[in-house]
């Protein structure tokens, strides 16, 4: 499991960083992201779902399982 603290990183750069991290991982591996409230916590999970990953949101943390 990898963790990325993306607080203070604006959209869409937070998703760019998360996406590159996912690209380096194997299918089934887990990535945890910490995101700012507002646009980041709304947009990044949506983008991750659109890319086909399994996504759970818990407060300001997002858990992504790579498809």
């Amino acid at each position: 499991m990898s963790t990325l603290d993306l607080t203070g990183v604006l959209c869409p750069l937070n998703w760019v960083r998360a996406r590159l991290a996912l690209e380096a991982m194997d299918a089934g591996e887990e990535l945890r992201l910490r995101l700012d409230p507002g646009e980041p916590i709304e947009s990044v999970p949506r983008s991750a779902r659109e890319d086909g990953h399994d996504v759970d949101v818990h407060g300001d943390w997002v858990r992504i399982v790579k498809r």
């Binding site: 869409p12 750069l13 760019v16 996406r19 590159l20 690209e23």
Partner: protein, 258 residues
């Protein structure tokens, strides 16, 4: 080498594309492109390739900027009149994206230097303005097995064809011989609108990026014809021609298009 923070920010709007990836961006950065001609097609082509992050760009043009060029060649500005077009283009591209290594070649591409210029490139984008040069570029790209994006624009008409030598039809497969002298008017005689050249050049740039990054479906074996009057688009399917003087002897690649 991974992408720097500045590169992530510069390319963020393409890095978020579902079709794109960090690997695609690195393929562009590690790629080398030759743009033949820094005029009406070459301006948008070189601009978009540099902006997208193609690592090395060679710009070939021996002509100087003229006042009558400026309506359709947006890399050149009024104070550039008299300056070599390759140098003028390179100066603008360095401002646009300093991450890109731009090499101006203030020379005319001909039979003697063509293979040396395209050798080692990953893609050649033909933005030349004569049939003679077009066949020379095609033959050199085939001989060196470098991918090629051909295009032409005249009046409100445009044409684009992507070529993977040895795998898809080359320009000479589809057009075995040049039109008779005088049969097709030149840009000087027939005229051209800058915006029409811009559309065709932007399509050429997109095709080059698709070939380099390995995304999408390039116009291989398909000639796109555009009519700017009514925005009509026609795809003409073409194929390799047995005995083509340019590409028949190019061996078929062991690996299919990635």
């Amino acid at each position: 080498m991974t992408l720097t923070d500045a590169e992530l920010e510069r390319y963020s709007r393409q890095l978020v594309l579902p079709e794109w990836s960090g690997a695609a961006q690195e393929r562009l950065r590690d790629a080398s492109a030759i743009v033949v001609g820094a005029g009406a097609l070459g301006s948008p082509v070189a601009t978009y390739l540099a902006a997208a992050g193609v690592g090395r760009l060679g710009i070939v043009d021996e002509d100087a900027v003229e006042l009558s060029n400026l309506h359709r060649q947006p890399l050149h500005f009024t104070p550039d009149i008299g300056v070599n077009k390759a140098a003028s283009a390179a100066a603008k591209l360095a401002f646009l994206n300093p991450e890109v290594q731009v090499e101006p070649y203030p020379a005319r591409l001909d039979e003697r230097n063509a293979e040396a210029i395209v050798m080692g490139a990953d893609v050649v984008v033909d933005c030349s303005d004569s049939f003679e040069t077009r066949y020379v570029v095609n033959d050199a790209a085939c001989a060196e097995r470098v991918d090629l994006v051909e295009a032409g624009v005249l009046g409100f008409s445009g044409l684009v064809l992507a070529i993977r030598p040895g795998e898809s039809a080359c320009y000479r497969c589809s057009f075995p011989s040049p039109p008779l002298a005088g049969a097709v008017p030149s840009c000087r005689e027939a005229g051209v609108l800058g915006a029409m050249a811009g559309i065709v050049g932007a399509i050429q740039a997109l095709e080059a990026i698709k070939l380099l990054a390995g995304v999408g479906a390039p116009l291989l074996d398909r000639i796109l014809q555009l009519d700017g009057h009514d925005m009509g688009q026609t795809i003409v399917v073409t194929s390799r021609r047995d005995g083509c003087e340019a590409c028949a002897r190019v061996p078929v690649a062991a690996e299919a298009y990635h």
